[in-house]
């Protein structure tokens, strides 16, 4: 008898969701012995025998669901342990899907109680990972990869199962909603089908009435959820909402979860650049080496107002930025760089509020210049146009008098938010 069954009995007896979830994790160390404990012909019989005498499984439907879940799990274990050839991951995926379907049945008709939810978590989680592996394998062999899409559909069913449960709150599957939602987001992002996430958000929004408040959920669920909502808003250019959610996620995030903090900051830093026009402090970046390499060059050039260096830094990091979908946002940092440049002009000119456009043009020429390279003169009209843009966006207070070729800056706070 595989020790897996023993764990299962223990978990049922002690009503330990965590232990139960662990039983259904393909990374459980006991999987090897489980894989070798039976064969294709006998697996169902063996499992039925092992579960047959468990007193708590008197409900027929409930027991059948567990039996089927174990059968699927055995298929996964067997394939992963013993098969090497092509298509092993696909077969493993099929097994995991069977487990998943059995679990859904268990909740639908087998009256599995709410404490067993970790089983669903594990099943969904591994359904996703195995699907990704399977798709990679297929792509390698030049085949069409659709397992992850299929997995997304199954996880979506788990989501419906959670959100539509009407049992009283203390034993409701509603408590599993956010975990599953996060997994769905993750899958949709991987599939590059981010728009689908919005359907989920809409469904969530529609059921807030009898849903427990987000703050009552486990912190880990909240952090991930807020992160994804933040990123989705970020991609929709709703930077205020993005800032709000990402900031909340960042502060709730476990202090040792460096990777998660990094992920949050990857979007929070560009967001801040646009909402508050602020740059990350060197101290903050120092804690995250990866972010340091990603953002530091850009940040220094924005701060110094060296436009040429900014352009270079942007194009150097383009591949990475595009991959993280932050390029189009970061590119707008050029405005801040320019604002900083003009601000320097203003300070150097003893804060005289009337500055000839020509002065800005000279500054731009320097800024566009590389180290030791030739000066690139920018046309007056273009300088004016960019100045106008800054005024329009509220980065500079003042106006341009075209007749006099003068920029007239506001007497106080000509560069809002910079203390000048």
């Amino acid at each position: 008898m595989s020790s897996l069954y023993k764990q299962f009995r223990l978990a049922l007896k002690g009503q330990s969701g965590e232990l139960l979830g662990n039983v259904f994790s393909p990374s459980n160390p006991d999987m090897t012995s489980f894989a070798f404990s039976t064969n294709h012909a006998l697996v169902r019989k063996n499992v039925e025998y092992e579960l047959g005498n468990i007193a708590t499984l008197r409900n027929e439907k409930s027991r059948t669901a567990w039996v089927e879940a174990f059968c699927g799990l055995w298929k996964v274990a067997y394939t992963l342990e013993r098969e090497e050839e092509d298509g092993a991951w696909q077969r493993a995926y099929e097994g995991q899907r069977e487990t998943m379907q059995a679990i859904v049945r268990g909740y639908q008709s087998g009256q599995w109680s709410c404490w067993t939810l970790p089983v669903m978590y594990t099943a969904c989680k591994y359904l996703r990972t195995i699907a990704i592996k399977s798709d990679e394998d297929r792509k390698r062999r030049g085949l069409k990869a659709e397992d992850l899409e299929d997995a997304a559909r199954h996880i979506n069913r788990a989501f419906t199962l959670c959100i539509s449960d009407r049992a009283p709150l203390e034993e409701s599957r509603k408590w599993g909603t956010y975990y599953i939602v996060n997994l769905l987001f993750k899958t949709y992002f991987k599939l590059n089908a981010i728009t689908l996430s919005k359907n989920i958000l809409r469904a969530l929004h529609a059921t807030t009435g009898d849903m427990p408040a987000l703050k009552d959920f486990p912190k880990s669920h909240i952090v991930t959820f807020k992160y994804y909502v933040g990123v989705i808003s970020f991609l929709e250019e709703d930077y205020t909402k993005a800032e709000e959610n990402l900031t909340a996620a960042f502060y709730l995030c476990h202090r040792d979860a460096i990777r998660n903090q990094e992920l949050i900051l990857t979007y929070l830093i560009p967001t801040h650049l646009l909402t508050t026009h602020t740059l990350p402090t060197p101290a903050l970046l120092a804690r995250y080496p990866r972010l340091q390499t990603l953002f530091a060059p850009l940040c220094t050039t924005i701060k110094s107002g060296n436009l040429r260096a900014f352009d270079a830094a942007l194009s150097n990091g383009e591949a990475e930025f595009v991959k993280r979908r932050i390029y189009l946002t970061l590119e707008r940092g050029r405005d801040i760089a320019m604002r900083n440049l003009f601000r320097k002009v203003y300070i150097l000119g003893d804060k005289n509020t009337r500055i000839p456009v020509r002065t800005f043009q000279v500054a731009m020429g320097c800024a566009v210049d590389g180290e030791g390279g030739e000066r690139v003169e920018v046309e007056v009209e273009e300088v004016e146009c960019l100045l106008a843009g800054l005024v329009y966006k509220g980065l500079i207070k003042g106006y341009i008098s075209r007749e006099k070729q003068m920029v007239v800056l506001s007497g106080s706070k000509a560069f809002p938010g910079t203390g000048v």
């Binding site: 991609l235 050029r334 146009c385 329009y392």
Partner: protein, 504 residues
Amino acid sequence: MSTPPWRTVNSVPYTNGTPRNGAFTPVNARKNLSSAPRQVYGFGQTTQPQIQASVPPQPAQKTTFPDKLKQYVARTFEDCPPESKADVEVELKRIITDAFNEKVVWSLEWDKMPLPQEILATKRIADRKEKEESKTKTVSVQVSNGLRSSPKLDTGESRVPNATSDEISAVTSRFDDRFDKRARHDQSTYPSTADKLSQREKEKRAKRFEDSNNRVSPPHPSTPIDNDKPLIGTCEKLEKQYFRLTSAPDPQHVRPLHVLEKTLELLKKKWRTESNYSYICDQFKSLRQDLTVQHIKTDFTVLVYEIHARIALEKGDLGEYNQCQTQLYSLYSEGFKGHEEEFKAYRILYLLHTCNRADMNDLLANLTPTDKQDKSVQHALQVRSVLAAGNFHRFFKLYLEAPKMGGYLMDSFIARERMSAMCTICKAYRPDIDIRFLTEELGFESDTECVQFLCDNGAQDLIEQKSDDKGVPRTIRFQTTKALSLFEDMKRAAFKKVDIKGQL
């Protein structure tokens, strides 16, 4: 009964008004090849409903004969010359079957009915007459006492069992009439057995319709079409109107590749000489359809889509352009050769038009260094970056120097960006601005055009002419500060509507 019986006839399926004397054969539109018998279905009992309503003493169906008929038959053979016996027998048989078929066996006054030999004699005379009058219709006019011409009688409304002599003559003449008809048919090899004849005739007609049906209808719809084997067309015509298929395509209306190649040349020539867009677009759609139904995916396919895309761009038909672009996108990714860079550039501009940031990001992620070397792509990327920076000065310059068809695409968002630039200018320049400046910065061709633009947008009151000290008009000024809110509204409206038809 509120409606007369001949009206209700139409509601009886597969039944028609007056088919029994062969005046015409109703044919129901064929829907299926397998049910050929359906063609003739119902001819036997065609007029049953109406007749039944009008013939009162309808005895039990089975072949019972009225006594008068028996006497009639007896009379027939009584004085029948042996040489013509065969003919008479045939004729008699015909009369009786007809009478049965028309359910007048019991209503006919057999004792007043002309004998078969008399009818034969009349027929012979009529025959001769007909030949003499070279097939004028005199005979039929003469004999048909309106029986056939008036459907009322046919439907039996006035058919009374105890018929007057008038009636009898009508009935006989009807037989005669039929006779004549037959006589005319007699030139062909039909046997004179009336029922059989009409039956066969009907069948033949049905066949004829079947044939003609065959010619136009697509292959049997109920047999599953093998989608794996691409169809190869047989149509040789160069031009074809676009028709959105609702069923499997018919090879006879599909042009094979070698014809399509000629078609493309023809269309190119026609576009150059005639420039009739609605015609060209229609033709290209049918061309594309023929390629699709024959599963033709080659560099030629790419060429067709590219040319259609360019023409659509020239005419500002973004919907059609986008369809082509979508196809091209997948064709290029399958490795077919064409002008990939050029169309990548268009795609960038198109995404700018639709403000699709997500796709733009994906596109940027997939641009290769070779793509970035391409002039059109570089231009499109520059347009993208100056738009992002709000640098309208450079934007309108790039607009004027757009390579290939890029300018046409930029046309689609130039008005919108002009609004945006107007807002910036109105906010940043005070107190007013020279019209000339607007003309130059916003890509207008002349001051007049610029003033027209301002007037069109309801800013006519904010334009004023300034003169110098001597009263000579110097410049036209535009009051920027006051125009800001006006253009802000305009900008919002302009950014709201974005084409989403057939979005890739």
